[in-house]
Assembly symmetry: C2
Homo-oligomer: 198 residues x 2
């Protein structure tokens, strides 16, 4: 056989092309023809790796989740507990140009999953994973006795999760409302308020 190695790399390249096009022109820009042209391929070539547009988009969103998950895993290596919590949660926000493009695509997919049942499973899984991450971080803080006693983990998880999603939405669609640094500070301030006084 020929390039069996390049197959998955090509698919990942095309997934990133989808993200880039969505950042630039929204989901409609991520057409089969558009992706092919942006990647310098023929439409037939794209369809060789992805039999349908639905599979291309599905893969692009799965790859998106995998990328974010990997970054969260990397941030989980931070030694200090407080720093770790902050670092992990920061990976759920678009703080760099790179991640801004990714979350722009994520928002588009998430929104589309409301209609497109093919995207629904992976979309709701992503939301579930985010909630789980928040709960886990809060539970760890509680176990370590670093959470103010009057705070309920489940109640706080709902608030923090919604706060993060709202901040993400605002950074994407209304970047003038909060600068990235302001958003960073807002998250840091939030977490400080959770902790027991030193």
């Amino acid at each position: 056989m020929a390039n069996t190695i390049d197959g998955e790399r090509r698919r990942r390249e095309l997934a990133e092309t989808v993200w880039r096009l969505i950042l630039r022109g929204g989901l409609p820009a991520a057409s089969v023809r558009g992706v092919a042209e942006e990647a310098g391929l023929a439409t037939g070539s794209v369809r060789h790796f992805f039999p349908s547009q639905a599979e291309l988009h599905n893969f692009a969103m799965l790859e998106l989740m995998a990328t974010v998950t990997e970054r969260v895993r990397a941030a989980a290596q931070t030694p200090d507990v407080r720093e770790r919590a902050r670092a992990m949660l920061e990976e759920l926000l678009p703080f760099t140009d790179r991640t801004h493009a990714e979350f722009a695509a994520y928002l588009e997919f998430l929104d589309r999953s409301r209609i497109d049942t093919a995207l629904e499973p992976v979309a709701s899984e992503s939301v579930r994973a985010a909630r789980e991450l928040v709960v886990t971080i809060l539970t760890d803080l509680r176990t370590l006795g670093m959470l103010r006693p009057e705070i309920d983990v489940d109640t706080e998880a709902v608030r923090l999760h919604a706060f993060l999603d709202g901040l993400m939405l605002q950074l994407l669609v209304a970047p003038d409302l909060n600068s990235r640094q302001q958003a960073r500070d807002a998250l840091a301030g939030w977490l400080e308020a959770l902790e027991v006084k030193a």
Copy 2:
């Protein structure tokens, strides 16, 4: 002249048709042909009231903001201060089937405004208005001495605004995450935590 009275009514009808179609099939469903068929008109009739699709969508979003603004104004009549704050902020969340459709359209327009410069002015104005409402409510509470002294209005406004937007996003794209009642309770609980102990 003929029905000068019906003109604006027709335009409002078509705006609501746009909302309904967006709820059902996303922004792509709000095509000129789609709106015409849903409203029982010919495409030429729709284009008689709106010279272009851009004007139709722009008007639909303006009408959306006017509707929400009117509801907030009505909620502002609530006598009790605490109840009033809660009632007004609840109007920024999709708690009924009716408002769910409206906010679904709003999210779609907001997302589209990231790309479509024609929607950008009204979109950023809507975000600014929401922020202003939050700030105003918090400022009123502070003036009345009902806000816990350690709370800074501006800091709290950023948090509460992001919390509301996140809750809206989740109610729209991940309705299984939080029920409407849970979201209502979360908002009520948040506001209670802001107030000075009775």
